[in-house]
Symmetry: C2
Subunit: 201 residues, 2 copies
């Protein structure tokens, strides 16, 4: 019950992240995780009692990171437009660092929505900060009225989809002279900012 060797546990978690994110709960193999971590398979069960428990640790971490990131939004000292531009920058930075995360979360929820329903209760940042922020700017008369919920869906679409579909784009954009890991990502980010700029004169 004492302190466990943190580095081993972290090695396991890192490997589990990699394998679960790629193959999902059912597609992932414990032996694969052990090999990736460079340890014995029995150690997985020593640190995390079962495959499900290990998966939970990975999934909980992902949910926490994902939802807290989605709520990073600048304070009221800036105009709403600047805050949104910064929000776009943050999303692109986040998805660049964790390109597989949205796919992982969405896919696992689609397989097992009940589990997600249970887990979301224990999250601290479950409600979007973006929507009340937009609503406030509308109420202030800072921007013209529109539906902030629908706008949030559009904005997340524009930012998240290019990364979700990057396995496709990595192979298909070449035909049009673009390299995903090169200029494409930045050009897309600028185009997203262009897109939402129209909404704010």
């Amino acid at each position: 019950m004492g302190l466990k060797d943190s580095t081993t546990e972290e090695k396991i978690l890192e490997a589990a992240k990699e394998v679960f994110m790629k193959y999902g709960l059912y597609g992932a193999r414990m032996q694969d995780i052990a090999d990736t971590a460079g340890i014995n398979k029995a150690l997985l069960h020593y640190y995390f009692r079962s495959k499900e428990k290990l998966f939970d640790a990975v999934f909980d971490g992902a949910l926490e990171k994902y939802f807290s990131q989605m709520n990073v939004i600048g304070d009221k000292s800036m105009p709403i437009k600047d805050r949104l531009m910064q929000y776009v920058d943050n999303m692109f930075e986040f998805f660049t660092e964790y390109p597989q995360m949205s796919m992982f979360i969405i896919k696992e929820i689609s397989i097992n929505p009940e589990m997600f329903h249970e887990k979301v209760k224990h999250l601290k940042n479950q409600k979007s900060l973006l929507i009340p922020t937009l609503q406030e700017a509308i109420d202030n008369g800072e921007i013209n009225s529109f539906d902030p919920v629908i706008f949030m869906v559009n904005l997340h679409s524009l930012c998240a989809y290019p990364f979700l579909a990057s396995p496709l784009y990595k192979l298909m954009l070449k035909k049009h002279g673009y390299d995903w890991n090169g200029e494409a990502k930045d050009k897309i980010k600028e185009s997203v900012k262009d897109f939402i700029s129209f909404k704010f004169q």
Copy 2:
């Protein structure tokens, strides 16, 4: 080698679609497919030699349907704006009928890009019709100049992501008074049309 009972083969393919799309190649179980189809497991191997072959049949069908759909775009008799609006309608119709398809295709490509690379060669409609169509409208002076490749990415983002993320939205939009299966989908479609309208005065 003669004609096989078409209904059994179709039952298998239907079940395989369902199970593979949900769990992916590695997560899917042959027994699960057999149970879903209501047949003996050995029959799967009688009609399709192996799990991989059965998966190929499903994946090839999905690729074919997906890429041919992405190229349905009206002819030059209409103004470019109307053609794009129709394109949006088509995408929303398609994703409503096959909500899991983009997820399935993208996920499997991300696990095994080489396989996709091989398969895409044998596709008839591999290159996007949207991009040359936009380029033509720009060259004609019908619309102001912009990058058609980046625009295509944005447009597909706006249309595809809401369905990709629908497992999430189904659970989260309720908090804001929306029902995914009710009004939300249509409101999002209209907002997408609004978004792209800005590009065309």
